[in-house]
Every structure is written in structure tokens, then in C-alpha cells.
């Protein structure tokens, strides 16, 4: 189940990146195209089949995992700040792009790097599962979760408002799909606590969240592509 979900998420992210590749350098919403490129990297690095060779190339000291974490941060920063702006939530946008948001991002990124250097992570291990008993690695993981949860929580309200508004059905479906995705990211937090620890569930929810957000964005692009047919504004 998890493996199928992971490969599906990778295929979807890769397809979206290729679809948007013309706008990676110049063009419409470059940041969004980069978010998908980074998402593809992140999902790819969570698969052992890709992680292990890449990490071997980087010296077999799990530097690839740091790369994975930082690219996830990039995805969330680029994506959630755009979603907040798209759904007209200046507060959410300020919480992500403003001083507070940038501070959270900086602290989490720094935390990741420091915890990585303090920990002893010799020997490639996808998702660092072999080292979870180390307190440094626990801190490393919590820094990783902190920023994604923070950014997702910021846009949950904005997407929910749009999902239950009187927009056209396709736009509401798009917003709802993103809402489910970002809510799932937040919902994984309790399952990471020692009390309710459930890693398989966390994995399933994480990759389902990626799929939901990607589907939401694809729906936005379809709606954008049909704008002339619908008699909407000429954007």
C-alpha cells in the first residue's frame, strides 16, 4: 500500500514537473514549478531504491536525507505562500512569508543541520530509520515536522473557506483537495508522538497528502485552461 502510494506520488510529481517545465526558467509562476521539481526530489529520496544510490554518491553519510528535508521545506514555503495568496488570506501569507514565517523556517533549517552534525549517522538508511533511537535524530525529525506542520496549518483555514464558498464546482473541488492534503500533514503530528506512534499510518498520510495537493493544483490548471470557455476574465 505505502509503496504503491509512494511510487504514484513520485509519478504524479514528476508528471507535474515535466508539464510545468517550460515555466521553470521564466514564465508563469516559476515558484510553483520549482515547488514541484523539489517535491519530485523529496518523494524520490524517500524511496530506498533511489535514496540508497544517491546517498552512496554523496558519501554514504545520509547527507541525502538533509537534502530531502531542506527540499521539503522549500516545497512548503513556495507552495503554502502561493496558496495563501491565491485564496486571498493576507494573514496566512504574512505568517508564512513574514518575519515570523521566515524565522520559523530558519530555525528549523538550522536545527536540522545542527542535529545532523551532532548525530552519528554513518551508513545509509532511508528516512534515517536505523538511527531513531538517538535523541539528536529525534530532534532532527521534529525540526523537520515543525515547519511543514506550521506552514500547512497556516493555509488550512484559507483553503477551507474557498472549498465551502460559492465558487464553481471545479474550483471548490480544487480547494477541497488541497485542504485535505494540508490537513493530513497536520494530522500526522499526533501519530509521531511516542504515545500513539504509528509509522505506517504517518507514511500513508504523508504521501496521500502529496497526492491530494497535487490533484488540487492540477484541477486549478484545468480550470485555468478552461477560463475562456467558461466566459471568465481574460487572464
Amino acid at each position: 500500500m505505502t509503496v504503491i502510494l509512494q511510487w504514484t506520488a513520485l509519478a504524479v510529481c514528476l508528471a507535474c514537473t515535466i508539464w510545468r517545465s517550460p515555466s521553470l526558467f521564466g514564465g508563469r509562476n516559476r515558484g510553483l514549478s520549482w515547488a514541484f521539481a523539489l517535491a519530485t526530489v523529496s518523494v524520490a529520496l524517500s524511496l530506498p531504491a533511489i535514496y540508497l544510490p544517491v546517498d552512496a554518491l554523496l558519501g554514504g553519510i545520509n547527507l541525502a536525507n538533509v537534502l530531502l528535508r531542506l527540499s521539503i521545506f522549500g516545497v512548503f514555503f513556495l507552495l503554502t505562500s502561493r496558496v495563501a495568496a491565491a485564496y486571498n488570506s493576507p494573514l496566512a501569507r504574512a505568517l508564512i512569508r513574514g518575519p515570523l514565517g521566515v524565522a520559523v523556517l530558519a530555525v528549523c533549517s538550522l536545527g536540522i543541520c545542527v542535529a545532523y552534525f551532532l548525530a552519528d549517522v554513518d551508513g545509509s538508511s532511508t528516512g534515517l530509520v536505523a538511527f531513531t533511537s538517538q535523541p539528536e535524530i529525534a530532534a532532527y525529525m521534529w525540526f523537520g515536522v515543525a515547519y511543514t506542520t506550521y506552514a500547512s496549518a497556516c493555509v488550512v483555514v484559507a483553503t477551507a473557506k474557498a472549498a465551502f464558498s460559492r465558487r464553481p464546482a471545479i474550483d471548490r473541488t480544487a480547494a477541497f483537495s488541497m485542504l485535505v492534503g494540508f490537513a493530513l500533514v497536520c494530522a500526522t503530528v499526533p501519530l509521531r508522538l511516542p504515545l500513539w506512534k504509528n509509522w505506517p499510518a504517518v507514511d500513508i498520510m504523508t504521501f496521500a497528502a502529496i497526492l491530494f495537493v497535487a490533484v488540487g493544483l492540477v484541477l486549478v490548471w484545468i480550470s485555468f485552461g478552461r477560463r475562456r470557455v467558461r466566459g471568465g476574465p481574460r487572464a
Partner: protein, 244 residues
Amino acid sequence: MTVAAKNFQMWLSHVAGSTSQAAVCRAAGIKRSTLAQQLVRGRVSLATIAAVSRSLDLPVVASLSVFPDLEDLVSGIKAPTTAELLSQISDADLLQEILNRNVAAETGNDPIPVELSPIPHRSSVRAWLDAIDPTDLRQKVARNAAMAPQNLSAQISANRLSAELAIDSARIAGVGLTNGLVATGFLSPAEAGWAAGACASALRGTANSVLASLAAERLEALSRVLRRSEDDTAAARNVWEYLG
């Protein structure tokens, strides 16, 4: 609104005799599958009755009154009030009349009569409801039909009103029972018993001041509709701008 298929078939055999169902459908311009489906479900729509009735040159209102709950439709025909007649004149025609009168006043000639566009106009349902009772008619209609007020509002915004609700509204407001069916486009004014040219003569007989305030109300309603649609467009555009 629908009637029982059994009653419909009794009526059909009475008015169409032995004509086959296929021939009836062809003449009435309704799909055979549509009628077949309605008969299977046991409920036939009023639109079907009206279409069959027109194809047989029968008066639509009299045909409808054959069915239970609609018996009082013929006796309930009442000439529309001036307000109802004016409500069925489109915004553009009202404004044109004002302009024509203005020109006439300046040149000293008789105003050129406006060629009224056919009923129903774009917001005919809302205008008719406002004309028959500006206070709490909608709440009463919704309560009577046991439907949520926002569902009624949605119908009105889309310039729709089911035949049942149109008749109900007229009954509650105490106006001619068929008048709402004109506003929804279900009946032509003539079928509903409106005199020919009634709207035009009501318009001619309306004082300038009344016309001006009516136009003001219409423009106010129009501006609300336009603002709503502009807001929706701006929201969609915003999403496309950041995520497109």
C-alpha cells in the same frame, strides 16, 4: 411539480384518443424516452402536460386543472396587477421608455413606444415576487413547501421557480394563480389569460415618477447581481494568478 402517471394516462387517452404514445411525443416535441421514464417513475412533469396540450391545441391551463391539486387553476385566473405587468418588462425596456419619454419632453413630440422584448426577461422571477409582495412572501413560500430558504433563493437567483412554487406564491399573495407561471416562462402571457398588449399599456399608463423609482430599484438589484459575479470572477482570477 408532477402529477401521478395514472392520472396523466387517463387524461391522455381522453384528449388524444387512440393516438400512439410515439405520435404524441413527436407532435409535442418531447423525447419518447423522457416520457417513458416519467411513466415508469409514476410521476409526469407539468411541462410534459403543457407540451402535449399545446400540440393538441388545447388550452394549457384548462388541461392542467384536470389534475388533483390544480383544479382551481382555471378559476384562479385573475388579470395581473399593474405591478405584475411592469415586473415583466425588462430592465433595458424600462430604461428605454424613460429615455424615450425624456426625448419626447424635450422635443414636444409623443414618446416613441418601446418595442417590448418577449417575456420572461433575465430577472423576471425576482421582479415578479417583488411585485406581488415585497415583505415576507419568500419565507412563507419556503415554509409552505418545507424547503430551506437558501434553496428557494438559489432558484430565484438562477431566474427559476418550479411550477408548484410559482402557483403557491401566487396563492399566498392573493394574485392570479397563473401569473407566476408567466414570469417563469412556463406559460405565455396569452395562455395565462393576460390581455394582449397588457404590459405595454401598463407601461404607457405609468407616471414618470413611478417609472423612475422602479428603474432605480431594478438598477439596485442589478448592481447587487453584478457585484456578486465580479467578486466571484476576481476570486477565480486570483487563484489562477498565483497557482495557474
